[in-house]
Amino acid sequence: MRTFNELKKNIKKDHTNFKKTRIAILADSASQLLSTAIKGYGYESQIDYEIYEADYNQISLQIYDQRSELYDFNPEYVFINCSTEKLLKDFYSKDKTGQIHFATYVCDKFRSYYEALTSRLRCTVIINTFPEINDRVFGNYGAKTNASFIYQLRKTNVLLMELSQEHKGLFICDIAALQSEIGYHNVFDPKMYVNADMVYSIDILPYIARHITDIILSISGSFKKCLILDLDNTTWGGIIGDDGMEGIQLGYFGQGKIYTELQLWAKQLKNRGIILAVCSKNTDEIAKEPFLSHPDMVLRLEDIAVFVANWETKVSNIRYIQTVLNIGFDSMVFLDDNPFEREIVKAGIPDITVPDLPEDPAEYMIYLRQQNLFETASYTQEDEQRTSLYREEAQRTILQQSFENEADFLESLNMCSEVKAFDTFTIPRVAQLTQRSNQFNLRTVRYTDDDIKRISADPDYYTLSLTLEDKFGDHGLIAVIILRKENEKTLFIDTWIMSCRVLKRGMENFTLNAIVELAVFHNFEEVAGEYIETKKNGIVKDHYQSLGFVADGNRWQLDVAKHKKNYSFITKK
């Protein structure tokens, strides 16, 4: 982790070409250094933060006054940073009844902040959990009575978490969890509090800045999707090729506990939607044996989307995994106990994240938890199935290699698709796709659930969601189209997103047919599209041209009458 001073020096460095992000910081303690840390951390993550820092202790004033500088600034993110020190003061100012209902009162205040902010701004609001202070007025009995501060503080944290579950645009920076990792004495510096009314020590500021940035990055579509595991001394203790099935350490054998706990963690990640892959220098058959028959293995072959064990370099094997999964290197994490291998991978694939595992394996888990590698901005049911989806994809890749021509392969897949307008069931997934798709995304406009609801109710918009199913399995909803009526003649493609796992399947043609069909049905004469270049969507640069659209300035147009239905191997469900 960078020191505060290093972050401070980052501010002077060149931020041009970084993504501009406008964030307002409203705090009930002095926040100058926090702002400095956030601005400086932006450089580490290629974000150019434009920060509006409200004057000290002006949270309500800024939020409830419609003419405040906050609304002039028009931020994309508002971070309301409240401290336990102030919470404690507030608690002490209440009478007995007030104290017993304190948590509800605090939560209502935050609800009201959120509602006021979002009624005037299109912004995401970040609040924080309160790190614990136990004033010991009741001793340990404080945990047993609702009259104590510690009871009300913990309840406040739970209520805030529940509040954020009710509101998609409300996120929580879990400072309480951060404090439980590193301790109150490291979070809070009494000298800074007394002299400058700052509630965070210099050393903790980079961590808070990182967590805020993690949240913002994940909301804007940048987060980890895949964990690649080395095997020997990472997934189990010892070397399978030398020690054999009976010799590797797992479960209660030797230091097995370490590796079993790491596997349990990986399995939880998989259940939450992180794709697991294996990359190991081993003989394939020997490496797979524990996954098939070791009684203490938590991970089994079906948990692993891509399994690569051979004697090639790790760099080339990770590249192979990347081509099968078709996700960016920057969304991958590679775990390996060997510092030498780690350095080679870091040098060969700069975008991948390679945590420097501690030398002592006993410290693996405590280290990994602190890294906060797998921040996410959403969680849907489909996330859980992701590894199996990617496993099916690996099977398709192998099948494809057995066909000589592409058409025969596509035909053999027996693909079908369901095409319909957005509905209550598909809206969350549609919003999620607009938020996380980076590659096959023509204009990269991000929409929230509420935006999508509004669009699907607006008579000037037409929407399509498309699924894809084949003989290996169901991909679910994989394409999103939002069409806007520009005038009586023209239908504009506001959004065209496809999941990258269905590339080269003829889905583009099939989708265009569906768009044209819809345009004809509603008597439009032309369909217009636009490509807005980003760092990541180069694969769709020639999208409209290859589908037969004609260039018109920055836009692409298709005369509906002249369009000949493109052939695809997909049938309508």
């Binding site: 001073n5 250094l33 000298k191 800074m192 002299n195 400058a196 210099i202």
Partner: protein, 81 residues
């Protein structure tokens, strides 16, 4: 640790925290002489000094120094305690 070594180390800390290569401290230097030395940076300087010399000052002390000389004497006293 002698006085000269302390002021030299403190000078390096000032340069690093205030991000100004030109700082040359003497015992008579005060906050008025250095633009960046405001109350906010003072706190950061104190934290950096505490860390470097592995000492801890009390809150009254850090507000009481009139110049760099007094600051260094306080450090010297703590270090040699």
């Amino acid at each position: 640790m002698d006085h000269n070594q302390i002021i030299k180390d403190v000078n390096d800390i000032f340069i690093d925290v205030l991000d100004n290569e030109d700082i040359k401290l003497t015992t008579a230097t005060t906050a008025i002489d250095i633009d960046e030395w405001d109350s906010l940076n003072h706190i950061q300087l104190v934290v950096a000094i505490e860390k470097h010399f592995k000492v801890k000052f009390n809150t009254t002390e850090i507000q009481g120094w009139k110049n760099v000389g007094e600051m260094c004497s306080a450090i010297e006293k703590r270090v040699n305690q």
